[in-house]
Symmetry: C2
Subunit: 337 residues, 2 copies
Amino acid sequence: MANLQDVAKAAGVSKTTVSRFLNGSLELPDRTVQQIETAIRALNYVPNPHARRLSLGRSDTVALVVPDIATPFFATFVSAVEEAADARGLTLALHATLNRSRREMKYLDFIAHGHADGLIFVTNHASDAAVAAKINAAGRCVVVDEDVVGAEVPKLFCDNLQGGALAGRHLAEAGHRHVLFVGGVEEMISGARRYQGFRRGFEQCAGPQARIDRICGQYTYEAGHAAARRFLQSDPRPTAIFASSDELAIGTLEVLREAGVSVPREVSLIGFDDVGPLHLFAPAITAVRQPVRDLGRRALELVFDSDWKDREKLHSEELLPVRLIARESVAPPIRTT
Amino acid sequence: MANLQDVAKAAGVSKTTVSRFLNGSLELPDRTVQQIETAIRALNYVPNPHARRLSLGRSDTVALVVPDIATPFFATFVSAVEEAADARGLTLALHATLNRSRREMKYLDFIAHGHADGLIFVTNHASDAAVAAKINAAGRCVVVDEDVVGAEVPKLFCDNLQGGALAGRHLAEAGHRHVLFVGGVEEMISGARRYQGFRRGFEQCAGPQARIDRICGQYTYEAGHAAARRFLQSDPRPTAIFASSDELAIGTLEVLREAGVSVPREVSLIGFDDVGPLHLFAPAITAVRQPVRDLGRRALELVFDSDWKDREKLHSEELLPVRLIARESVAPPIRTT
């Protein structure tokens, strides 16, 4: 493979000239530029990016750390960041942590010392002081989707409070008074805020008869299965379920189907995220839609448009609005009393 | 931040000793090892991975290049590779090319000179000699899912021929004689082989009356929409559609729904991939299921278990079996003649 020396020789200039030209620290006459570029093309020379990073301290790379990309939400989010990175001519290095702290720390180390130009960090478990410390040390890092308490960086979330309230009001307006909230743990802002908004929206509209049962866990199919099984055993049964992620809604629906419980005739169901093809389900599922692609685009903007020198103003929180997509899975409850 | 010099000083040894110890080229007495490790911990020293890579030529990193991870198929595939990498203690660097050659070349350059231990490459467009050349130059590279003609490396695909045949036989056995194949272009092995298998399976079973219409394009929702619109305008209409990816099946179903065409009463539908939640659709969609997680696991094994010194045996092709999941979207055709 051709090296810098070969390029220099073919272009008739010194190795230092080529090197400084390539790292942008030397202006050259057009003719010399042309000679170097011709030599690079002719020899198919590719600068070693590690050597280049060592000398430049930058890489034109954005790193993105997500828990797991097998869910439609994260897959779509990553795809939006990739589109935005492509538009800026950046390469994207993606790392999936499987939502394990150990793996998060490993990738944060990897990145903090890897001279990426910026980092978008997404976790899906309760905060961890060690992770926060590493994020603060990582430089240009933006926290998205779930909070990392103690990380003093720009943060970007969907408006979980508003989303919960939309779901709560929708169920109350359909006539429900006893409902089940299935969601994340209280220690995560999505879990806490979706519940807080849901309670507020539901109680304001349903009045003193309002009763909310709550099951907390992970945003997984398995947690949806478990919640639906607990629902089936409850007495009296709530007349509606707010399953606050696509996975929870799908998991819940699977168990209800198997048990022969009809949605929405016997129980209403409302989801959150609305990334999967919920509109094709039987019945089509009503859900709060997250602006997933907007989250991806905005996250990359925050990496590049934030003033990273002003540490005081850096610690900010931005919320993107959500909306309710009404379909066929919510109906008035059957009156049993 | 502590540097190598600080560690050497604290441990009471020379900088060269620490450096050679860290890159594994120097055996030291236990006591000295302990002194260095204590100093590293006390100073929270982290070796610069770029410098380390330059000296070692390896990185404990596997690179994975995929077209787009927003589809459930690729998202699940990536997640399986991540699990397998985690089990081997490897970090994974993911790159999404948006299925654009320019971006594929960029990431292949990036990786070829980045000293990743191995590379899993997935494209979703017809082959390109320049891409093949770069793959051959990249070292330990495995091609998965779609072929790159000219790449002389281990290749791993699902058994597209078998999958097509399963779908063709299933439709013929249900009584269909005029069917529509919606699939990838002939220049891609998935497009060519799924069609070839489909034709063979269908014709063998349906006999001389067999008629297959064919629409080729990309594996996207939009292509599914376009194919379904052409289907609606065709006269006579085929009585069944084989939409040979999840996206094509979903896109097709969306347009049929909108047009009020009932599946399977007016037209039968069979999909391919079966990664999305097709079992919850109305109707639940019959599909050929790809072993996506097995593809991910096996791809990583091939990177590490292939004999990369024996270039002659390297160029191999391995197929993983698929199976048909029969649900509710295929029924006998309405007899109009």
